[in-house]
C-alpha cells in the first residue's frame, strides 16, 4: 500500500469519527445559540408562531430591569468568590492528601478514606444535593441548627434559606461543597505526576507544608488551576439548578441568578423574546470572562 492510500484511509477514518459529533454539536448547541440571537430581537411570547421584530428594545429594557441587574450582580459575586474558595480548598485538601505527610512524600494518615469521602458529592445528582441541603438548612429540624443548638451556640441558629442576609451565602456554601471534591481529585492527579524528587528536595531544604504548597505545588500545577478557574467561572455564571431547587431565587430575590431570571421570564411570564435577550447578555458575559481568565492566567510553563 502506498503512503497516499494510507493517508486517504486515515482521512476517511477521521471523517467517520468527526462528522456525527460535529453534526450533533451543530444541531443541539450551535443552532439553539444562533436562534437565541434571532429570538432576542423579537417580542415572541412563545405560544403562537406570531411575533414582531423589535430590534434592540429588549436590550434597552434589560438595562433598566432591576431584577435582571440584581440577578447578574449575584452571578458576579459568585464569579469572584466561588473559584477562589473552591480552588483554595481543593489545593489545600489535595496537597494534604498527596504530599502533606511529613518525613516522606505521601499523604496524611487516612488519606485513602478522605479521597473517597471528598468525591461523594460528585456522584450525587445536583437535584439530590439541592433537596439534601434544603433539609440540612431546615431551621426547625435541620442538622445545621440542630448541631448549633447541641453545642450551645443557639445564638448562631438562623432561618438560613429564609433570611435574605444569609440565604445567598448558604447557597454558595453548597456550590463549594458540591464542587470541591472534583478539584481535589483533579489537583491530586496533577500532583501525582510531579516527580517525587522535587518534593524530596523541598523537604530536605526544610520547607514547611505551606511553603511547599505555595512555592512548589501551585507553580507546578498552574495548568490545572487555570482550567479549574475557567470551569468554576462558567459554573458561577450558571447556578440555576441549585438555586431553583433550594430557594427559587427568594427570599425577596436575595438568591436570584441570571439563569433563573431567564427561566422565569420565558416559562413563567411567556416572554421568550425578552428571556432570549437576557440569554444573549449572559452569553457575552460568559464568553468575555472565559477569554479574560485564559489571558490573565497565562504564564510560562515549567517543564518537568
Amino acid at each position: 500500500m502506498t503512503g497516499r492510500a494510507l493517508r486517504h484511509g486515515r482521512y476517511r477514518l477521521l471523517v467517520t469519527f468527526l462528522v456525527p459529533p460535529l453534526l450533533l454539536y451543530g444541531y443541539f448547541v450551535l443552532s439553539p445559540y444562533v436562534q437565541m440571537f434571532v429570538i432576542a430581537a423579537t417580542d415572541w411570547r412563545g405560544l403562537s408562531p406570531s411575533y414582531e421584530i423589535v430590534g434592540l428594545d429588549n436590550f434597552r429594557q434589560l438595562l433598566r430591569d432591576q431584577y435582571v441587574l440584581d440577578a447578574l450582580r449575584h452571578n458576579l459575586v459568585l464569579l469572584l468568590l466561588l473559584p477562589v474558595i473552591t480552588i483554595a480548598l481543593g489545593l489545600f485538601f489535595a496537597s494534604m492528601l498527596n504530599v502533606g505527610g511529613r518525613g516522606k512524600v505521601a499523604g496524611v494518615r487516612g488519606s485513602g478514606a478522605y479521597k473517597v469521602v471528598y468525591f461523594f458529592p460528585q456522584v450525587i445528582s445536583i437535584a439530590v444535593i439541592g433537596v439534601l441541603w434544603k433539609q440540612l438548612y431546615n431551621p426547625r429540624s435541620g442538622l445545621l441548627n440542630g448541631f448549633l443548638e447541641a453545642v450551645g451556640l443557639d445564638g448562631l441558629a438562623r432561618p438560613w434559606l429564609g433570611d435574605p442576609t444569609y440565604a445567598f451565602w448558604a447557597v454558595m456554601a453548597v456550590m463549594v461543597w458540591a464542587n470541591v471534591g472534583f478539584y481535589v481529585v483533579l489537583f491530586g492527579a496533577a500532583m501525582q505526576s510531579v516527580p517525587r524528587d522535587v518534593y524530596e528536595a523541598a523537604l530536605l531544604d526544610g520547607a514547611g507544608r505551606l511553603a511547599t504548597l505555595w512555592r512548589v505545588t501551585i507553580p507546578l500545577l498552574w495548568d490545572s488551576v487555570q482550567v479549574a478557574w475557567v470551569y468554576l467561572a462558567i459554573l458561577a455564571l450558571d447556578g440555576f439548578a441549585l438555586v431553583q431547587i433550594m430557594t427559587n431565587g427568594g427570599p425577596s430575590f436575595a438568591t436570584d441568578v441570571a439563569g433563573l431570571r431567564i427561566y422565569e421570564t420565558a416559562f413563567g411570564e411567556a416572554k421568550f423574546g425578552y428571556a432570549s435577550a437576557i440569554g444573549v447578555a449572559l452569553f457575552f458575559v460568559t464568553l468575555s470572562i472565559a477569554v479574560l481568565a485564559l489571558r490573565a492566567t497565562r504564564r510560562e510553563r515549567i517543564e518537568f
Binding site: 432561618p159 435574605p164 416559562f267
Partner: protein, 472 residues
C-alpha cells in the same frame, strides 16, 4: 501546547458563530414555528343528543397536571367520554411540567385537545389569552347538562365559577375544583385546650397570647412561599372595606394596595409578627415543612386553601380533625360579616384554539361537569367541584366538610380576587417578596404595602403585558 489549542478552539468557535449567523433565518424556523399552519378541525353534526357537534370517531387527547389531585380522576372522566363515543380513541397523558411539555406544541400549532393547565409549571394565562391560544367555551355553558334534566351547563355551576375563567367577556378557562381559602386549625387541639376560634381581631390576639402561654406557637406560614400570607391580609381588608378593595387590586387601580382597608389590615396582621406569635424559623421553611410543623401541633394556625387536607394526608395524626375558618373581623365597622369567606374555582382546564378536536374538548369538559363526573371527582380526590350539589350524599373527610359548612355560612357574602390569574408574576414574585419581608419582621406595614403597590405599578406600566378589567 494545550493553551494554544484552547485559544484556537475559542477563535474557531467565534468564527463559526459569524458564519452561522446568515443561516439564522433558516434555523429560526425550528423554535419560532411556522405561520401557515391551517389545520382542519374535526366537526360532527349537531343534534339534541350531540349539542356540541362532536365527530364521534375523532381522537381526543387529554393532558393532565399530575399534582395534588393525581391523574386517576381524569381516567374515569375519559372512560365516561369513551362510553358515549366508543369509536373515539382517547389519548391520556399526565405531567408535572405543563409549560415545558406543551409550549413547543402550542408554537407548532399541534396542541392537545384538553389541557389541565395547573401547578407551578403552568403556562402563563396572560400569554395564552393575549395570543388567542384558547378556544371559546361559551357554547359549552349554553349546552344542556349531560345528566341534569332541563338545565344548561351554566345553570348547574356554583356562583363565581364562570367569572373566574372569563377574560374580556369571553369564557376561556374552566376552573373545575372549588377551593375555600381561610385559616386552618386542629379542632382536636382546640377542644383539648378549651380554646374557641376567635371572631374578632382583638379576640384573635388574646387567643394567640393564650396559645403562646401554653407553649405552642400561634402561627406558622409557608416561609419560602410567603404569598400564602397575602391571602388572609387581603381577605381581612375586603371584609373591612368591602368588595371594592379586591376589585381595585384586580383592575390595577392606582394605589389600590394602599387603600384604608389594606392599611387597617396590614397594621392588624403586623401584630402577630411584633408579638412573636410566629413559630421561630418559619421564614426558612417551605410549604410542606411548615405545614408539617402545624400538623405536628407545633403551631396552631396556618393559612391555606382547601387542598391542605389532601396535601397533609400522609403526616396528619389520626383524630387531628382540621377545620377552616374565615379571617377574624377587624371591628364593628366591617362591611362584610365574620362568616364571609373566600371561595373560588381553581384547577384550570382549557381547550386550545388550534386543537384538532375542539368540539370533542368541549364535550369532554361537559362530561366533567355532569353530575356523575363531578361526584366521581369529589369521591376520588376529596375536593369540591364547581358543579352545585355534586357533593351531596358523598361522605366527605373532616376538613372538607368544614369547608362546605363555611361556604354555606358565608352564602352570598363570599368574595374572591383574581389578579394572580391576570398577572401571575405580581403574586408569585412581587407580592410574594413583600410578604416574605413583612412576615419575617424585616419591614413594617407601610413599607409592605408600598412594595406591593410598586409591584402593581410595575405591571401596570409594562406595555408587553395585556391588561384586564373586571366588573363587580
Amino acid at each position: 501546547m494545550s493553551e494554544i489549542t484552547r485559544r484556537e478552539v475559542l477563535r474557531r468557535a467565534a468564527a463559526a458563530g459569524v458564519l452561522a449567523a446568515p443561516a439564522a433565518g433558516v434555523l429560526s424556523a425550528c423554535a419560532l414555528g411556522d405561520d401557515d399552519s391551517a389545520t382542519s378541525q374535526y366537526e360532527g353534526t349537531k343534534s339534541d343528543t350531540n349539542p356540541l357537534g362532536v365527530k364521534e370517531d375523532a381522537p381526543l387527547e387529554v393532558v393532565i397536571f399530575n399534582g395534588g389531585f393525581g391523574e386517576e380522576y381524569a381516567k374515569a372522566h375519559e372512560a365516561m367520554y369513551k362510553e358515549k363515543y366508543p369509536k373515539a380513541e382517547v389519548k391520556h397523558s399526565a405531567t408535572q411540567e405543563i409549560s415545558k411539555t406543551l409550549q413547543p406544541r402550542f408554537v407548532d400549532g399541534t396542541p392537545p385537545d384538553v389541557v389541565n393547565n395547573s401547578g407551578a409549571g403552568q403556562i402563563d394565562f396572560n400569554g395564552l389569552v393575549s395570543q388567542g391560544s384558547l378556544a371559546d367555551l361559551g357554547e359549552l355553558l349554553d349546552a344542556p347538562s349531560l345528566d341534569v334534566a332541563g338545565k344548561t351547563v351554566r345553570d348547574t355551576l356554583l356562583p363565581g365559577a364562570v367569572e373566574v375563567g372569563t377574560y374580556d367577556g369571553k369564557f376561556l378557562v374552566l376552573n373545575y375544583a372549588y377551593t375555600v381559602y381561610g385559616i386552618w386549625y386542629s379542632t382536636k387541639l382546640f377542644t383539648e385546650k378549651g380554646w374557641q376560634y376567635a371572631k374578632t381581631w382583638d379576640e384573635h390576639i388574646a387567643l394567640c397570647r393564650t396559645i403562646k402561654a401554653a407553649g405552642i406557637a400561634p402561627w406558622t406560614y409557608q416561609g419560602l412561599h410567603p404569598r400564602y400570607m397575602s391571602w388572609p391580609v387581603i381577605a381581612t381588608a375586603i371584609k373591612h372595606g368591602g368588595v371594592e378593595v379586591a376589585l381595585n387590586i384586580d383592575n390595577l387601580e392606582p394605589n389600590a394596595w394602599k387603600s384604608d382597608a389594606m392599611k387597617a389590615s396590614a397594621d392588624a396582621w403586623h401584630q402577630i409578627v411584633k408579638d412573636g406569635f410566629i413559630l421561630p424559623g418559619s421564614s426558612g421553611l417551605d410549604h410542606k415543612q411548615s405545614q408539617t410543623e402545624w400538623s405536628k401541633g407545633k403551631a396552631a394556625f396556618v393559612s391555606c386553601g382547601s387542598w391542605l387536607e389532601n396535601e397533609q394526608k400522609a403526616v396528619t395524626p389520626p383524630g387531628f380533625d382540621m377545620a377552616v375558618a374565615p379571617t377574624p373581623s377587624l371591628g364593628g365597622s366591617d362591611k362584610l360579616p365574620f362568616e364571609a369567606i373566600r371561595g373560588t374555582a381553581g384547577e384550570p382546564f382549557i381547550v386550545p384554539a388550534k386543537a384538532r378536536n375542539v368540539r370533542g374538548g368541549r364535550e369532554y369538559l361537559r362530561t366533567m361537569l355532569s353530575a356523575k363526573g363531578a361526584k366521581d371527582f369529589t369521591q376520588k380526590v376529596s375536593s369540591l367541584t364547581v358543579v352545585s350539589g355534586a357533593a351531596d350524599g358523598v361522605q366527605l373527610p373532616f376538613g372538607l366538610s368544614s369547608a362546605v359548612k363555611a361556604l354555606s355560612a358565608s352564602g352570598s357574602n363570599g368574595f374572591n380576587w383574581v389578579y394572580q390569574l391576570y398577572y401571575r408574576k405580581l403574586e408569585r414574585n412581587l407580592v410574594d417578596a413583600a410578604c416574605g419581608q413583612f412576615f419575617s419582621g424585616a419591614i413594617g406595614p407601610a413599607e409592605f404595602l408600598d412594595q406591593c403597590q410598586k409591584g402593581a405599578d410595575q405591571i401596570a406600566s409594562d406595555a408587553s403585558i395585556k391588561k384586564y378589567k373586571r366588573g363587580k
